[in-house]
């Protein structure tokens, strides 16, 4: 079943159109990767779903299980934000409020939905522990600067998923992390998504991370979609020359061990 | 084509700032030629003409002593602005010398200078100025000294910050690499590239310094009676607030309009210098 359906989405800033009619869909519980080079419009497309950018003007259709979001009332959008669609950004340094405890920030999505403080706290701590933060109950009242980058990104993920959204949009959630931590965080995201039956739209410009993570891949360039395919098919038989170029740039085991993001089996499976 | 229109638009001075610039020019001109264009003798006491409202003979009315308010404002511009200019000149020189010293003189010198400026910051200028005024005796001269003493710490801090920034810039590093001597480096390379901020700050400070100086005159320790200084005029008019509003309102307007004009021009210069501020500020 299709969860998120984007049809002919155009996004402009002032006079300048930066996304020119994008079509994209994410099935319920599916993980879709949106890839493309820097400036291709991935983030703009992602932000258009929740319409968080007041400077952007949208046309076309974004629907969530049939509920149209383009042109929706503010109250309608608010009820979608957080509880049906969660969001994670690239930089865990700027994604957390420096003057609030991480616990307060994790509890917020529940608190604003009327969950009791005590229950919100318990759920927050449990989630944080599930996301691999050791000593979660003790660290719950710490401030963001007391955490490392990878740990902070787990906190950001906790904030995004605590209200149990059906879809998580993760905009390059690991780009700012160092390579080892990248793999850990992605694995974790994968596990949590599967556990909760949560769909993920993963944005990345790194095809290397896609293979082990996504079911489908959407390739974007210059504000347009150039190719959409299941992940195995895309790796085995890319149609668009741009995709072929991208694949050529994927790190290979024999080239650079530091870039080792996917397991041997995965690469072999993909390469057929 | 569209870009050239955009750049031309950006180069045009916004209307408000243009008006402010014109007013600043006018005020400065009045400071120079004011006494000659004054329609009446600003000091001629004429008790039969006291507290006349604005009219064809006295455009802005007369004060309690029958003196023409307009003529006094035109004449007084010189006192107020000259005092302001002297204060700013003195404090800028001190600021550049001491501020540079703090920036390049090493930790100990810097620490000492900064703690001294902390003291200056702890007491509002008008209060510190009162201290100097009472120690030196009243008069516009001691008002100038007094305000200067309380104003220089601000410039020291400003210059210290910008000189430090310039010292870290690339061209200074390459000058060092070329073996330019320290003195020469600071005098010929660092300072000329640091001081453009002064245009901005001095323009912005005209308003603030003028307000302190006229405040001192208002209290009675700056320009003395019967001087046509703007603050002193307001003080003199304060006693008959109810019988002759014009003697109170117009000198104050002169101060306020001048202060607004210089503030606007200062802000405009600041944005010119650093266009990114336009959004932020």
């Amino acid at each position: 079943m299709t969860l998120l359906e984007i049809r002919d989405l155009k996004v402009s800033y002032g006079e300048r159109e930066v996304v020119h009619g994008v079509n994209l869909s994410v099935g319920a519980g599916c993980r879709t990767a949106l890839v493309g080079e820097s400036g291709s419009g991935k983030s703009v497309t992602a932000r258009a779903v929740l319409q968080l950018d007041v400077a952007a003007s949208l046309s076309g259709s974004v629907s969530l299980k049939g509920q149209e979001l383009v042109g929706a009332k503010a109250s309608e959008l608010r009820s979608v934000r957080g509880s049906r669609v969660g969001l994670v950004f690239q930089d865990p340094l700027t994604s957390l409020n420096p003057v609030m405890t991480i616990g307060w920030q994790i509890m917020q999505p529940l608190v604003i939905r009327g969950v009791k403080k005590k229950e919100a706290r318990e759920r927050g701590i449990a989630l944080l522990a599930r996301l691999g933060v050791k000593d979660a109950s003790r660290r719950f009242d710490d401030y963001p600067h007391q955490f490392s980058g990878g740990m902070r990104q787990r906190v950001v993920i906790a904030i995004a998923v605590i209200a149990e959204p059906e879809l998580l949009i993760a905009d390059e959630p690991t780009t700012a992390l160092d390579v080892r931590v990248q793999a850990q965080v992605l694995d974790l995201l994968h596990e949590v998504a599967v556990e909760r039956g949560m769909a993920v739209l993963l944005i990345t410009h790194d095809l290397g991370v896609v293979a082990g993570f996504a079911d489908d891949v959407v390739v974007m360039r210059h504000g347009r979609i150039v190719e959409t395919a299941p992940v195995a098919q895309l790796f085995a038989d890319p149609q668009h020359p741009y995709t072929k170029g991208l694949l050529g740039a994927v790190p290979r085991l024999d080239r650079d061990p530091a870039q080792r993001l996917v397991s041997v089996e995965e690469i072999e499976a993909v390469a057929g | 084509m569209s870009t050239s229109v955009a750049t031309r638009k950006r180069r045009r001075i916004p209307l408000v700032d243009r008006i402010a610039l014109i007013i600043c020019g006018l005020v400065l001109a009045i400071a120079v030629i004011g006494p000659w264009i004054a329609p009446h003798d600003p000091y001629a006491v004429n008790l039969s003409q006291r507290l006349l409202g604005p009219g064809p003979e006295h455009w802005l009315g007369t004060d309690i002593n029958g003196r023409d308010v307009l003529s006094r404002i035109l004449t007084g511009a010189r006192t107020t602005l000259l005092a302001t200019a002297v204060v700013l000149a003195v404090t800028v020189v001190i600021g550049v010398v001491v501020g540079t010293l703090a920036a390049v003189g090493g930790r100990v010198v810097d620490e000492i200078i900064m703690r001294i400026t902390d003291v200056g910051l702890a007491v509002p200028s008008i209060v510190l100025a009162l201290g100097f005024a009472v120690a030196l005796g009243p008069g516009i001269g001691s008002a100038i000294i007094a305000v200067s003493v309380s104003w220089w710490p601000g410039y020291v801090r400003l210059i210290r910050t910008v000189v430090r920034e310039t010292m870290q810039s690339e061209f200074v590093e390459s000058a060092v690499a070329l073996g330019v001597g320290r003195r020469r480096l600071i005098l010929r390379h660092v300072l000329p590239n640091s001081l453009d901020i002064l245009y901005v700050q001095v323009t912005l400070d005209v308003a603030a310094v003028m307000l302190v100086i006229s405040g001192l005159s208002f209290i009675g320790v700056g320009a003395q009676v019967p001087s046509a200084e703007w603050g002193a005029m307001i003080a003199a008019a304060a006693d008959n607030v109810t019988s002759g509003w014009w003697a109170l309102v117009f000198p104050g307007l002169a101060i306020a309009i001048t202060a607004i004009a210089f503030s606007l021009v200062g802000d405009w210069l600041r944005v010119l210098r650093d266009p990114t501020l336009k959004q932020e500020n």
Partner: protein, 349 residues
């Protein structure tokens, strides 16, 4: 321990600035032209009286000895005597200070109640009409001569429209029991509502006058800090969790503005006490400002310098308190990660 080091350093700095302040005061009373012996003896003193004062004040001692005496006196609360009231300057000031603190507190309240929302709204509606209007209000507040504004308010609101009493702190014939020295509080304690409202009515115009020039700066500070946090990712993400705009602005963004805001407000409190010299006399209020103006006009050197010391000390103490409050509102400070004090804004004066 970072917190202990921070507190120690703040205390030390405050001490250093206080010492500098005393040096400054000493320079003003002793070193500058003008004869402190004559100042202490009074204007009409005979030569013998002046000589006696010179002897008493130790003015023939070496400067360092004189300074030592001055410093120890100041530390014991002896700021010299007023030649007019013939009392200790500190006792004079203690009598009038509560009234000034009342005025400053009221002005600070107005400053915060107008300045902070103005800054928040201007940031929220950046570049829109509201922002422009906020800028105009700020510009007017910062450029109007304080003393002139007070007179104008008297002229229009009191004299013409009769909305507020012209001057004084209470109406003709009204008295309050002297309990705290703060008239509004004493009026409240007296249990007479009419008396209290009269005291409030007398307080409003001077407080508004005093606040006017400060609103611009706090609004500007809040605005620029709010712009930074409203643009930050964590605010966008807060919206993405479904938080309402009010909550986003107040709980997520404004909380960050508290750090620079409290720094500026702390400095403003001390400065406001100084700016009372331009307000209190106009409104015939008691207070350190009016006391200082009288002292200046009567050449009462010790009274003036004593007032400067008191105003400086209030500034130093409020800033120390703010520095300690920062520990609580800025968690990064506790771990030594933030600059101990944001660089003093150059343009705030």
């Amino acid at each position: 321990m970072n917190v202990a080091r921070y507190v120690a350093r703040r205390l030390l700095l405050s001490g250093v600035v206080f010492f500098g302040l005393v040096v400054l005061a000493f320079v003003l009373v002793t070193v500058l032209p003008g004869d402190p012996a004559r100042a202490a003896a009074g204007r009409n003193a005979t030569a013998a009286q002046v000589a006696e004062a010179r002897e008493r004040l130790g003015l023939d001692d070496p400067v360092l000895v004189q300074f030592w005496h001055y410093l120890t006196n100041v530390l014991q609360g002896d700021l010299g005597n007023s030649v007019f009231t013939h009392r200790a300057v500190l006792a004079d000031i203690a009598d009038v200070l509560p009234s000034s603190l009342e005025l400053v507190a009221a002005a600070m309240l107005i400053n915060i109640v107008i300045g902070v929302p103005l800054g928040v709204l201007a940031a929220y509606r950046r570049g829109r009409t509201l922002d422009v209007m906020a800028r105009i209000v700020a510009l007017l507040g910062a450029t109007m001569p304080v003393f002139w504004l007070g007179l104008l308010l008297q002229l229009v609101l009191s004299s013409r429209l009769g909305l507020f009493p012209l001057y004084g702190q209470l109406g003709f014939g009204e008295r309050v029991p002297d309990i705290t020295g703060v008239i509004t509080i004493d009026a409240l304690l007296s249990g007479d509502p009419a008396l209290f409202s009269s005291a409030l009515a007398h307080l409003i115009l001077p407080a508004l006058t005093l606040a006017a020039s400060f609103i611009a700066v706090i609004a500007r500070t809040v605005r620029s800090s709010m712009i930074t946090s409203l643009d930050a990712d964590y605010v966008t993400l807060a919206r993405a969790t479904g938080a309402g705009e009010l909550r986003v602005v107040v709980r997520h963004a404004l909380r960050n503005a508290l750090v620079p805001m409290s720094t500026i407000l702390g400095m403003q409190l001390g400065w406001m006490l100084g700016v009372t010299v331009l307000v209190e006399s106009t409104f015939s209020r008691q207070g350190i400002g009016a006391y200082m103006v009288d002292a200046v006009l009567q050449n009462d050197l010790y009274a003036v310098i004593g007032s400067i010391l008191v105003i400086g000390v209030v500034f130093i103490v409020t800033n120390l308190v703010v520095d300690l409050v920062q520990l609580w509102i800025n968690p990064r400070l506790r771990d030594g990660l933030a600059p101990a004090r944001p660089a003093a804004p150059e343009a705030v004066r």
